[in-house]
Amino acid sequence: MNIDFVGLYNYWVVIFLMMVGFYTVIAYDNLVKKVVGLNIFQTAVFMMYISASKVDGGSVPIYSESIELYSNPLPHVLILTAIVVGVAITALALALIIRIKEAYGTINEDDIIRMDLEEDARRDKL
C-alpha cells in the first residue's frame, strides 16, 4: 500500500464533507438543518468530480496554439448541471418547510411526529 495521503488531500476533504453532511441530515431534528446537511453532502460530490478532472500541470481548457496539456472540461459541465439540480432541490425543500411551518407551527421533526401520533390517537377514539 503506497498511497500518497497528502497529495490526495482534496479527496479527504470530499470524504470529510460527505460524512459531515450525511451526519447532519440524519442526526438533526430541525428541518432547515437537514437541508443544510443535504447541501454539504452534495457539495462533497461536486468536489469529487472537479478533483478528478484536474490534469497535473494542465492548463485551463481553452482552444489555443500555446496550450497542449489541459484539464478535462467535461466534469465541470456535468457538475454545473448537478448544481442546478441541487439548487432546485434546496428551493423546493425550503418551500415545503414554509408550508410545514404553516400547517404544524413547528419545523422540529420530533414535534411533528408527536403531533401526528396524537392525531392518530384522537381518530381512533372516534
Binding site: V45, L78, A82, I89, L92, A93, L96, I97, R99, I100
Partner: protein, 494 residues
C-alpha cells in the same frame, strides 16, 4: 418523422409542461395532458413493434456521435418500460380530472398538470436514455415533480411525507451521481454501451473503484425503488399523495427505478460481474424474502386502504428483486414480467381507491364498510384486481408468480418457493379484510348515503382490470417479450 420518435417520446411532455403552465387554464391543461399521454402511448407502441424482433433503435441527439454526444437507445426492455409508463399515463390522465376536483384546490390544478407532465417526461427519459449522466438528470426531473405532486395532498401529512421523500430521494440521487462519477473516473465515458465495453475490457475487475461505483449505484437506485430497508419513504408518500398521484407513482415510478437497476447491473456491469464478481444474489435474496414477509404482514394492520396498498407495493418490489437475485432466465423473466403486471394491478387498485375517495371522502376502513351494495362496480374492480395481486390463475399476478416459482425450483431452492406462496397467502388476508368490510358488513348508520362512481372513471378503471385478465389468460405477448429481455440481459448484449 418516424426516425425522431425516440426524441419525441420525451420531448412532447417536457415542452408541453411550461405551455400548460403559461396558459393557466385548468380544463385546457387537462385536455392537453390527455392528448400528450395518448400520443405518447402511440409512440411507445410503435417503438415496441419496431424493436420486437430484436432490432435496436439508436438516436443521436443533435447528430453527435454516440460515445461523445447523448444517445437514446431503444431495445425490447426500454420499449416495454416506455409502454408501461405511457399506457398508465394514458389511463390515469383522463381519470385525473374528476378525481382531483375533490382532492386538490382549484387554484392548484394547473400546477398539478404541469408537475404531472414533467414527471411523465422524467420517467420516460429515464426509460429511454443510453447515457448514464443523462439518466441522473431525468431521475431528478421525475423526483422533483414527484415531491411537488405528493405535497398537493389534502392532509398536512402530505407535506412531511413529501419532505421525507425529498431527503431520502436526494440522498439516493446523489449516491447515483457518485456512482456515475466513479465510473467516469475509471473509464472516461458516460455512454452505457461504451461503459459496458470498457468495463468488460478492464483488466482488474477487482478494482476498488469499480466495486465502489457498483455499491453506490445499487444503494442509490435501491432508495429510488424502495428496496426493503430503504423503503421508509414509500408508505407515507403513497398514503398522503392525492389518489391519482398514488396511482400514477405506484404504477410507474418504482418500475422505472427497477428498470434502471436492471440496466446498470446487466448492461453496464454485465451479468458475470454482477453475479460472480459482486454476488448480488447474496444481498437481494435475503432482502427480497424479508420484504415479502415483513411488508405483507405490516399491510394487514393498516387502518387506511392507501397505506395498506403502499406496503403491499414494498412486498411486490420484493418479488422483482427476488427474480433478479435468483440469477437465471426464468427469474429475470419473472422480474421483467412483474414490472408490467404489477403496474396493471396496482394502477387498477389505486384507481378504485380514488373512486372511493371521490364518493365517500375517505379511504380508511370506516368508509369502506358496506360499500359492496352501494358501489357494486367499484368494489367488483377491487376484487378482481385484488385477486390479481394475490396471484389467482387467469390473472396477471399468477403469471409472474408462476415464473418466479419456476425460477426457484430450477435453482433447487424450494424454501424460496414456500416464502412466495406464504406471501400470496398473506395477500389473501389483507385483500379479504377489505372485501369482508365492503360486502359482509352493513353500512354504518352515521355514514351519508353514496352513489356509484361516475361512468367515465369506472370505464377507465375497468380497462385496467380487463387488462389484468386479458394478459393473465393470454400471456404469450408479455411473456415472449420478457423472456427475450431476460435472455438478452443474461447474454450481456447491449
Amino acid at each position: 418523422m418516424t426516425e425522431h420518435l425516440p426524441a419525441l417520446q420525451v420531448i412532447i411532455p417536457l415542452l408541453l409542461a411550461p405551455v400548460v403552465f403559461l396558459f393557466n387554464h385548468a380544463r385546457l391543461a387537462w385536455i392537453l395532458s390527455v392528448l400528450v399521454s395518448w400520443v405518447g402511448l402511440l409512440i411507445s407502441l410503435s417503438l415496441l413493434f419496431a424493436v420486437n424482433d430484436g432490432e435496436v433503435i439508436r438516436y443521436e441527439f443533435g447528430g453527435w456521435e454516440a460515445p461523445y454526444g447523448i444517445a437514446y437507445k431503444v431495445d425490447r426492455l426500454n420499449a416495454l418500460v416506455l409502454l408501461i409508463v405511457s399506457a398508465m399515463a394514458a389511463v390515469i390522465f383522463p381519470f385525473s380530472w374528476q378525481a382531483i376536483q375533490k382532492e386538490i384546490p382549484p387554484s392548484l390544478h394547473v400546477i398539478f398538470y404541469t408537475a404531472l407532465l414533467l414527471c411523465l417526461s422524467g420517467l420516460l427519459g429515464m426509460a429511454i436514455t443510453g447515457d448514464a449522466f443523462n439518466l441522473f438528470v431525468f431521475i431528478e426531473i421525475s423526483s422533483l415533480s414527484t415531491y411537488t405532486l405528493i405535497s398537493l395532498g389534502k392532509d398536512r401529512r402530505a407535506l412531511t411525507a413529501a419532505f421525507q421523500y425529498l431527503i431520502m430521494g436526494t440522498i439516493g440521487g446523489t449516491f447515483i451521481l457518485i456512482g456515475v462519477g466513479l465510473l467516469y473516473i475509471l473509464t472516461g465515458t458516460l455512454n452505457m454501451a461504451d461503459l459496458a465495453l470498457r468495463i468488460g475490457e478492464y483488466e482488474a475487475q477487482e478494482s476498488r473503484t469499480l466495486q465502489a461505483a457498483f455499491a453506490f449505484l445499487v444503494v442509490g437506485i435501491g432508495l429510488k425503488l424502495a428496496m426493503f430497508p430503504l423503503h421508509l419513504w414509500l408508505p407515507g408518500a403513497y398514503a398522503n399523495a392525492p389518489s391519482v398521484v398514488s396511482a400514477f407513482l405506484a404504477a410507474t415510478a418504482t418500475k422505472v427505478a427497477v428498470y434502471a437497476l436492471l440496466r446498470f447491473l446487466f448492461t453496464v456491469f454485465g451479468a458475470d460481474y454482477t453475479y460472480d464478481g459482486m454476488h448480488i444474489d447474496y444481498l437481494f435474496i435475503p432482502l427480497a424474502l424479508i420484504s415479502i414477509l415483513f411488508a405483507s404482514i405490516v399491510a394487514i394492520f393498516q387502518r387506511g386502504l392507501k397505506r395498506m396498498l403502499a406496503y403491499s407495493s414494498v412486498a411486490q418490489i420484493g418479488y422483482m428483486l427476488l427474480g433478479i437475485g435468483l440469477a437465471n432466465e426464468s427469474g429475470l423473466t419473472a422480474a421483467t414480467l412483474h414490472l408490467f403486471n404489477h403496474a396493471l394491478m396496482k394502477g387498477a387498485l389505486f384507481l378504485v381507491v380514488a373512486m372511493i375517495f371521490f364518493r365517500t371522502g375517505g379511504t380508511s376502513m370506516r368508509y369502506i364498510t358496506g360499500l359492496g351494495k352501494e358501489m357494486p362496480w367499484t368494489m367488483a374492480a377491487f376484487v378482481v384486481a385484488g385477486l390479481s395481486l394475490i396471484g389467482v390463475p387467469l390473472t396477471v399476478g399468477f403469471i409472474s408468480k408462476w415464473y418466479l416459482i419456476l425460477a426457484s425450483i430450477e435453482r433447487g431452492w424450494w424454501p424460496i418457493t414456500i416464502v412466495v406462496l406464504i406471501g400470496s397467502l398473506i395477500a389473501v388476508v389483507y385483500i379479504w379484510r377489505v372485501v369482508e368490510a365492503a360486502y359482509f358488513k352493513p353500512r354504518p348508520e352515521n355514514m351519508p348515503p353514496v352513489k356509484e362512481a361516475p361512468a367515465g372513471m369506472l370505464i377507465l378503471t375497468w380497462i385496467l382490470v380487463a387488462a389484468n385478465i386479458y394478459f393473465g389468460v393470454n400471456a404469450s405477448f408479455t411473456a415472449g417479450i420478457a423472456g427475450a429481455v431476460a435472455a438478452e440481459l443474461l447474454g450481456g448484449g447491449v
